[in-house]
């Protein structure tokens, strides 16, 4: 397989994941804003923009934070290179580039959803349709992943796609958690003290984990449980542990196909050591923020190593 095409597969699925995660974040923010007073709602929208890493771009063109402005900026603003519209465009561009390595079902799913999304985002999105648009983006991700599962060869192209998905997903969960970690601080020393459960519900929602968490933790919203769930619970498909384990499988499969390991495999082993057997208490002792920073750092290092091991560029 060509290095350039492998790069296309990898980034196609990173962008797809990013578009989907952005939509989830927006969805959680929408719900939160509806249930709070205006001042808190504004704070919420500020946090949504910050978490999605679009603060500088947003503030360059807006003076205040209102829902309408925020979701239109995140969804469709041409001046926002991280908008869902641009990201889905990048998914399609990469899919075009890697067209001979994806099945026509995957291509069909990408192209049809891109068309529908372009159509939905042609005009500013109003309050009554923003929920539909967000649902459409989530559905697009589901359809593409479904087409991949059901119609693609389990070859290199597949493993690059999956690796891209899990690198991006791990980064997203870590970033969302990191943006909110300070909310946990007052409660760290005081087991059982109250935390802002609304805030945490929102975090769980933005990683599609609210209901799973409720099942596993009998609905008790407390710092330890949430961190354990989002970082260490390998049953939850958006937890850091799950994403790492899935990524490890993909990199191992690539090494098997190539008959040798690369730098990414040894970085993967080092990163594994960082979270293997770690407990929630140890994470809090080390400091959640530092832990997450170090996690995100190794995530980037693995991504870079994949690109050079498999000759994405030169």
């Amino acid at each position: 397989m060509l290095g350039r095409t492998a790069n296309g597969m990898f980034w196609m699925f990173r962008y797809l994941e990013r578009a989907e995660n952005t939509a989830r974040l927006l969805e959680a923010g929408l719900r939160m804003a509806l249930t709070r007073d205006t001042a808190t709602a504004e704070e919420e929208w500020r946090s949504v923009i910050a978490t999605s890493g679009q603060r500088a771009a947003y503030e360059a063109s807006h003076d205040d934070y209102t829902g309408q402005q925020v979701w239109n900026f995140i969804l469709r603003d041409r001046d926002n290179p991280a908008s869902v519209r641009e990201m889905f465009g990048a998914v399609r561009t990469n899919a075009r580039m890697a067209r001979t390595n994806i099945s026509s079902e995957v291509w069909g799913a990408v192209n049809e959803n891109w068309m529908a999304l372009e159509d939905a985002l042609r005009r500013p999105v109003g309050q009554n349709s923003v929920g539909d648009v967000v649902a459409m983006i989530r559905r697009a991700g589901t359809l593409v992943h479904g087409a991949v599962e059901g119609s693609m060869l389990r070859n290199e192209a597949y493993h690059f796609a999956r690796a891209g998905t899990f690198i991006e997903r791990a980064e997203s969960t870590a970033r969302i958690l990191d943006m909110k970690y300070y909310l946990l601080l007052p409660t760290l020393g005081h087991v059982g003290s109250r935390i802002d459960s609304g805030q945490w519900e929102q975090v769980l929602r933005s990683v599609a984990g609210a209901s799973a968490y409720t099942w596993l933790h009998a609905g008790r919203i407390e710092a330890r449980g949430i961190v354990e769930f989002l970082v260490l619970d390998d049953r939850f498909p958006r937890s850091l542990a799950f994403c790492r384990s899935a990524l490890r499988d993909q990199l191992a499969a690539l090494a098997r196909i190539h008959g040798s390991e690369g730098e990414c495999n040894s970085l993967m082993r080092e990163a594994d050591m960082e979270i293997a057997d770690i407990t929630v208490d140890q994470i809090f002792d080390q400091g959640l923020h530092d832990f997450l920073l170090s996690f995100m750092h190794s995530n980037v290092a693995i991504s870079t190593a994949i690109a050079s091991d498999y000759r994405f560029h030169h």
Binding site: M1, L2, G3, R4, T5, A6, T93, R96, M97, R99, T100, S104, W107, G108, N111, E112, M115, E156, H258, Y310, R311, H314
Partner: protein
């Protein structure tokens, strides 16, 4: 489709009776479905400089163009003869130039020809093949009267429409195909893969590595490049994926460099090798022409092949066919006046309002004058250009082209069509897929079928015996 007295032509008899049973609004809905299906598949071509409509569809008309088995047999004989002659002609041009020595072709036609490549002189491509893929544009003026309008020996495009139009027709009207026996075109990519593999360099070990070389996703025909590579099971490469290592062309893979044996290139000669063609260019694969001349890679079509697409050379095709095959041409040319000749020029200038005048190196329907539909001012402007540089032009009569119906809101309406069958050439022989690309001028009365000028396409049927 119909005789002058209104009865359906034999080729259309079965289709016509099927059509009579269809409801008009159902067909209208189907026509819309077809557009939607093309968009979903992504069969679009890119238009530059238009932000909102970056990707456009080539309009598809759902009434097929139908050719009988007998007509097709006669056509293929003529096409085969012409393509054999083209290859012999290109070999001769780049070797002893017997045809010029014999005084049958003026030497100036080569001197004035931008596609002429001195680097190819004295070199024989692998298998002696120059035109691996040829598209011959034909027009029809009556029953069994086909004329060749143009030879596309450089890089003919449009074959993905032949394939996708058929797929669309079969999914829209399955009953039609169960009633009428139509020759299949769907194995064209396999035939192409086989034909290209057969042209691999002599020393190739094992199964040749065949690639499709595209300028990239922003090229207007990218869809076709990706489509063909996908259907052939060939790697779709860009120049940046390739480089010359140890005298071989190699492609950058995830596990290192792998040797490339055959390159089906969809880029122009100028973008093949910056060392040979365009020292200022950063595009292309530096040194590939050296590998080629050493016989270590096949480039399809061969560089320098475009020489025969020139319209001034076209006007000599009857002589060329006869010179190399020793036979009378089975397919006639359209009568052509070479404006380089004084007598012809005088005639053309006197009859501009009745003629079609084309640039000899032009393509895509640009830079031409269609006398009967041009305004007085357009003719006057064109006359000035023609007088300034007569060697640059040829002229042809506007033929009484046969028409084929298209589906419009008001029912069927006749429009002018041409036909481009696709011809594969390898040392194993000449292979013509029964079908082709039918282009149709969608505007009433228009003679221009190019997609860049508002033309559309149709499915092309060759009936089974």
């Amino acid at each position: 489709m119909f005789d002058p007295d209104g009865a359906p032509r034999p080729a259309y008899a079965d289709y016509s009776s099927w059509y009579g049973e269809q409801k008009n609004d159902l067909l209208r809905r189907k026509a819309k479905d077809a557009d939607e299906s093309f968009r979903r598949t992504g069969i679009t071509f890119n238009v530059y400089g238009e932000d909102e409509a970056e990707e456009r569809l080539i309009p598809f008309d759902m009434v097929p163009r139908i050719i009988t088995a007998g007509e097709w047999r006669r056509l293929t004989k003529g096409i085969e003869q012409r393509v054999r002659a083209l290859n012999a002609f290109l070999y001769d041009l780049y070797h002893r130039q017997e045809i010029i020595r014999a005084g049958r072709l003026p030497e100036r036609l080569l001197r004035n020809n931008d596609a002429w490549l001195p680097n190819m002189v004295g070199f024989t491509p692998p298998g002696g093949i120059y035109t691996h893929i040829v598209g011959i544009d034909l027009v029809r003026t009556g029953p069994d009267e086909f004329f060749v309008l143009e030879d596309n020996a450089r890089t003919p495009s449009g074959v993905s429409y032949m394939l996708e139009n058929r797929e669309t027709m079969m999914s829209m009207f399955p009953d039609l195909f169960s009633r009428i026996g139509v020759e299949s075109v769907s194995n064209y990519p396999r035939r192409l893969a086989r034909s290209l593999a057969a042209c691999a360099p002599e020393g190739t070990k094992g199964k040749p590595n065949v690639t499709v070389l595209t300028p990239g996703i922003y090229n207007s025909a990218y869809f076709e490049h990706a489509f063909l590579a996908d259907q052939m099971g060939a790697t779709l490469v860009e120049a940046s994926d390739l480089r010359v290592v140890d005298g071989k062309v190699q492609m950058r893979c995830t596990d290192g460099y792998a040797q490339v044996d055959v390159i089906y290139r969809r880029v122009d000669d100028d973008y093949l090798d910056p060392l040979t063609f365009n020292p200022d260019s950063v595009l292309g694969i530096p040194g590939i022409m050296d590998v080629y001349r050493a016989g270590n890679v096949t480039i399809a079509n061969a560089p320098g092949t475009g020489v025969s697409d020139d319209k001034a050379i076209y006007s000599f095709m009857p002589e060329i066919v006869e010179f190399y095959t020793g036979e009378k041409p089975l397919l006639p040319n359209v009568q052509t006046w070479r404006c380089a000749d004084d007598d012809s020029l005088a005639y053309v200038l006197d009859n501009l309002d009745e003629l079609v005048v084309k640039e000899v190196h032009g393509s895509g329907g640009y830079g031409m004058l269609i006398g009967p539909t041009a305004s007085k001012r357009e003719i006057k402007k064109f006359r000035a250009k023609l007088e300034a540089n007569p060697e640059n032009y040829i002229a042809q009569p506007t033929l009484a082209l046969s028409t084929c119906p298209i589906f419009t809101r008001k029912g069927l309406a006749p429009r002018h069509v041409d036909l481009r069958p696709f011809v594969l050439v390898s040392p194993d022989g000449i292979d013509i897929t029964p079908g082709g690309l039918t282009r149709v001028a969608l505007k009433d009365g228009s003679l221009v079928v190019n997609s860049s000028q508002g033309g559309g396409t149709k499915d092309t049927w060759v009936l089974k015996d």
